[in-house]
Subunit: 442 residues, 2 copies
């Protein structure tokens, strides 16, 4: 990177050409994601012809798009034509519709058809990321015949590692792995290789659900069928893992109150970074004005015992943290398929008990520390408030994400920061109500 920067400062094109020849593919791809678009275009155009596609395929779709914009039309078509249909569909998906349409028209009939098939499925469905190219075997073939078919028609197909097997009516029987076929006795029928259990997904299944299923089964690929149960594609392991990494990134960022950037950090502009964060902050700030109102309501209570104000940040901090914990644990367990909506009462009960236990532990510690320094009345108020807030926070932190999922909202949106903010206001109300009762303020 520093070297490439120096070469650019010296405008040493020959040096840059040398650099792209000497540097590893992965490192070139990583460097391209970290430099300015103009330098990126120049560097990319200096790549040796044999490495263009390798480097291109390693890039993030947003970076791919920025490079295509800098290339001449004929070059763009050449690259698109050589990409795998599902990678190409993902790239076209991120482009403005009119440009995507124009590019699609420039492709050969076969490649265009494969991409159109993928683009016909709803956004976020497994239909968008499956491989529409596969080698289909018939159940009555011998292993030798099947192997011949793979060798004859496997070239140029994205994955020959997972081979769907259909019966004589074309209905899906199972998917066998290339490895099993290679190791099978050549004279044996394919029927000896199929298992009793077949896993498959429908093309409109959510890509995340299908990917999670693939990971759980431990297979290399899942067959994808249409509404008439006809085989339309296969979901390969590598595409599934990209989906899961992206969805985990989205969950992680939402839990930190950001929207996913959709592009590597350095290629995101200051404006993009600010925008994805400002939306959340505004929502949270709006929710936080509740606390201003709550404190306003109890201003006279506060005036008569200013000591109460000292523990406001401590109390809402602990409430917020317990709520965050519940929300994060529940959201992750739901994403991994460990918890479903049917478990809602079991989960609520468990979280409530965890909240109660945590409240008692922390409340007791607070009681013992605060008492001698600030008085036992304040200490008792904090003790009781902490237990109530902890239970409330654990309850809110588990029910909100589960309800969100049930009504079709991404549970990560109702994550830690939202829950802390909501718990803040209700925690304050509890605190002042208890304070008024104990201190005898009216």
């Amino acid at each position: 990177m520093p070297i490439l920067n120096e070469l650019f400062q010296k405008k040493d094109l020959k040096g840059i050409r040398q650099w792209v020849t000497d540097t590893g593919t992965l490192q070139i791809a990583e460097t391209l994601e970290r430099i300015e678009p103009e330098q990126r275009a120049v560097t990319f155009r200096l790549l040796p012809k044999s490495r263009v596609l390798d480097v291109f395929e390693m890039l993030d779709p947003t970076i791919q798009q920025s490079i295509l914009q800098s290339l001449r039309d004929s070059k763009v078509r050449e690259i698109l034509e050589q990409m795998e249909p599902d990678d190409r569909a993902r790239l076209l998906d991120e482009m403005p519709h009119s440009i995507a349409k124009m590019l699609l028209e420039g492709l050969s009939v076969k490649e265009r058809k494969l991409t159109s098939i993928l683009l016909g499925y709803p956004d976020g469905s497994v239909g968008r990321i499956m491989s529409p190219e596969f080698v289909e075997l018939k159940i009555n073939m011998t292993s030798k015949e099947a192997m011949n078919k793979v060798q004859r028609s496997g070239r140029g197909v994205e994955s020959i590692y997972s081979l769907p097997v259909t019966d004589l009516n074309g209905a899906l029987v199972d998917v066998i792995d290339l490895g099993e076929l290679v190791l099978a006795n050549p004279e044996d029928s394919i029927s000896t290789l199929v298992s009793q259990e077949t896993y498959f997904v429908s093309a409109d299944t959510k890509e995340e659900d299908a990917s999670r299923l693939l990971l759980e089964t431990g297979f290399m690929a899942l067959p994808v069928v249409d509404s008439d149960k006809r085989l339309v594609g296969i979901l390969t392991f590598d595409d599934a893992m990209e989906v899961l990494q992206e969805s985990d990134t989205a969950d992680i960022l939402r839990s930190g109150a950001s929207e996913p950037l959709g592009t590597p950090y350095f290629s995101a502009s200051l404006f993009d970074l600010t925008k994805t964060r400002a939306i959340w902050l505004l929502a949270l700030a709006l929710a936080a004005t509740l606390t201003v109102n709550v404190l306003g309501m109890f201003q006279s209570t506060l005036q008569s015992a200013i000591r109460l104000s000292l523990f406001i940040p401590l109390l809402i901090g602990i409430g917020g943290n317990i709520g965050s914990q519940s929300a994060t644990i529940i959201i992750r367990a739901m994403a991994l398929g460990e918890i479903r909506f049917a478990d809602v009462f079991t989960v609520l009960l468990k979280e409530f008990r965890v909240g109660l236990l945590l409240g008692i532990v922390l409340g007791t510690l607070a009681f013992l520390f605060i008492g001698p320094l600030f008085g036992w009345d304040i200490s008792t108020i904090v003790f009781l408030s902490m237990i109530s807030t902890a239970c409330l926070a654990a309850f809110a932190g588990s029910i909100l994400p589960m309800t969100a999922k049930k009504i079709g909202i991404d549970p990560a949106v109702v994550s830690a920061p939202i829950i802390s903010t909501l718990v803040d206001a209700s925690g304050l109300i509890i605190y002042f109500m208890i304070a008024k009762a104990i201190l005898g303020i009216h």
Copy 2:
């Protein structure tokens, strides 16, 4: 699940045996992870012999361990003997050392040797999760000879999809995919299939780094070499993905102020759930006592202008959220390899500018809303405090995780909740300093 519960209530063993026969492998595995250990042991023992290993391999290591504890010794050995060496190493790793040693001694010499090789590498290293079994090809073989070798010695080997190629001195040349070999001309030499670039990792590389590299390269496996650069194993795609899912789970949970449970939600006891959370809460509560002290310092200021207390939760909420955003974005970008420590100044500058922009936007909104209702003096104080706190939070949120990583601490530990708590106290100091200056309080 409800059905299995009913069968257990009726003590209908015959019905349970029928259930495990009729139900899919994946669903059995999922159900076993959600029921009580006693019921789990009974259900597992009723599995038809042919399905025992399939079901067992789909389970989480902690659940596998609980099942093994309920089985007779001979049955335990049988299951262990059939597992893949890397899966077995992971299972033994989670067991008390003395039991693991005993079980290891019960294995056949070959299987014990393979597992010992894996267990000899440091915890968390790629050596622990690699496959020590692979089919090695020589550079001077023809494709046909190579294919014969795969068919001859590939049975029982975990993965024959990635085939390391060595030269005549035994040094690693490249790894070729089974698919390439299947599609190659039988008379061609293997040397025509190897690429110019070879990626490999050392056995003591961190498993997460190696897995991330494998995902980035898009290959099916990475060769693993020892300190003398001899080939000792291969890291397969599916094992790498399990590592990344686990590390993402840890990041997600830490960002919500929990330690990873290391076991599925329902099988975690109330005590475990509380313990993993209490540690964080105590640390955070300790940090939050800072706010009590800060507020104590400014108690007289607060007494003379009680209106100041209304905006404390709002102000520290926004500071905390901006800090969380920076921390989460930076931690994720580091995990994905988009940011390295060398970028620290670029990142700090960018985050500082984002913080400033966010502070100005939110501060201006707050200024306009608070002014008419609570007075323009308070409104100005909030405006200035919000800008300073936003900059401070963005700065802390980016420098702390990067420094943690640099000194070898998991950056996710210095994540959102820690940063919010630290920003709380400093935000309050800024707020009261500005308030004292503007309101003229001494």
